[in-house]
Amino acid sequence: MRVIDWIFTLAITGLGMMTANFIGFDIAFAESLPGVLVLLALALGGAGLAHIIPLKLPTVAYCSILGLLVACPLSPVSEFVISAANKINFTAPLTMVGAFAGMSISNQLRSFVKQGWKMVLITVFVMTGTFVFSLLIAQFMLQLTNVI
């Protein structure tokens, strides 16, 4: 995608976020705006880094690392960033993601139905296995290192 495409898509995403934040949580557009701009800037920055840096890391990794850096105590803008982002309700950015994700898999509905219950059961095991084994290791290690 070109830079202009990125900016356009992110602007749509920002509008979606503000709409969800307003409808779902009664937070006015103007109140959401600083947080939305921060998040969009980080997203654009992450995409830019992924483009420039020759490592094969996913764009999401750059975005979350950037977010971490601007909000950590060493960052001069951490207070502003954290309070602005806190205005955006946790699930507000997700509704639009869900809408796009649903549309993006809508042509797989027929294959999904055809696959039947066996694949559903296997998928449930796949997801449960990943979650539960990570959880067991995490819990054990947190106790071992006296974090909890």
Binding site: M1, W6, I12, T13, G16, I23, G24, L39, L42, G46, V60, A61, C63, I65, G67, L68, A71, P73, S78, I82, A85, I88, F90, T91, P93, L94, T95, M96, V97, G98, A99, F100, G102, M103, I105, S106, Q108, L109, F112, M119, L121, I122, T123, F125, V126, G129, T130, F131, V132, F133, S134, L135, I137, A138, Q139, M141, L142, L144, T145, V147
Partner: protein, 285 residues
């Protein structure tokens, strides 16, 4: 990414094609966020239906298999938009991690080691797949959580038409349809046992699939509101690490383990059930 550049000559061309996708997304937001969350008590936990699930469902309904509001070309365009639209959310979680950086660092060893838990799917799902009559499909199906990168990896290594590729694709499709809602529900049920610390639950949510992680974190934050910030901080850290190591984990550990386990288990577990024996005959082994 090169191909995308060629897709539309100008932004205006793109908007002419995609405007219906944006319009639908806003309509879905209006509907979904007006309904808001619905909480259904289940056992000691809660089954929470978030706006994202309605939006996902409405999106699936609008496609070429049902209401036909959007065609295959727009389906493809939508899948590019998902990857962009989730970035601000990922950045928000990164901010949470930064705000809780000391806790994240103190949990470092646990964060790194729990990554190996993502291989747990193999141990759990491979035997089941064999019992249900899958053959080499089980390798693709059980090797990881099977999101976009994993699917691409399997198709690259074995070919899209291979049994392994088909197994991966099947779980990918099912995961897209029901995975998001299931992952959040399962996380809140596991939390309801009271056996696990919120930090550990947060870490376990970061499985290298943004939308699944968001579902789990949203559900966990609802059932443990006093830990919401830490849960998303741990999830963000774990998700970031998974995003970086996931593909190597699959290439160097997951797939070899799958192949080894398959060779061990297929001659026994794979012949226990009728489905397994029939499948073995069909492929002539």
């Amino acid at each position: 990414m090169k191909k995308n550049n060629m897709m539309y000559p100008t932004l205006l061309e793109r908007i002419k094609t995609e405007w219906i996708i944006y319009a639908l997304a806003f309509v879905f937001i209006l509907i979904a966020d007006s309904i808001g969350q619905i909480k259904i008590p289940v056992w000691k936990g809660t089954f929470i239906i978030f706006p994202i699930f309605y939006a996902l469902f409405l999106g699936i309904l609008s496609g070429p298999n049902t209401l036909k509001i959007i065609d295959d070309k727009r389906v493809k365009a939508a899948s590019k938009l998902v990857g962009v639209a989730i970035l601000p959310f990922i950045a928000k979680l990164g901010i949470n991690a930064g705000a809780n950086i000391e806790k994240v660092i103190s949990a470092g060893p646990a964060l790194l080691l729990q990554e190996f838990g993502n291989l747990g799917t193999i141990v759990l799902a491979m035997p089941l797949a064999l019992l249900l009559g899958l053959k080499r499909e089980s390798i693709g199906a059980a090797h990881s959580i099977n999101r976009e990168t994993n699917l691409a990896l399997i198709q690259d290594m074995y070919g899209a038409d291979s049994p392994e590729g088909q197994g991966s694709l099947s779980v990918y499709i099912t995961g897209g349809m029901v995975g998001t809602i299931y992952f959040g529900f399962m996380a809140s049920m596991v939390a309801a046992t009271g056996l696990f610390h919120p930090y550990a639950l947060g870490m376990a949510s970061g499985v290298g699939a943004g939308i699944m992680m968001s579902s789990a974190v949203a559900a966990l934050s609802e059932v443990m509101p006093e830990f919401a910030s830490e849960i998303s901080a741990m999830a963000s850290a774990s998700e970031t690490i998974s995003g970086i190591d996931g593909i190597y984990m699959a290439i160097f550990i997951g797939l070899p383990l799958c192949n080894w386990l398959y060779n061990k288990l297929e001659p026994t577990l794979g012949r226990v059930t009728k489905a397994g024996r029939e499948a073995a005959e069909r492929i002539g082994k």
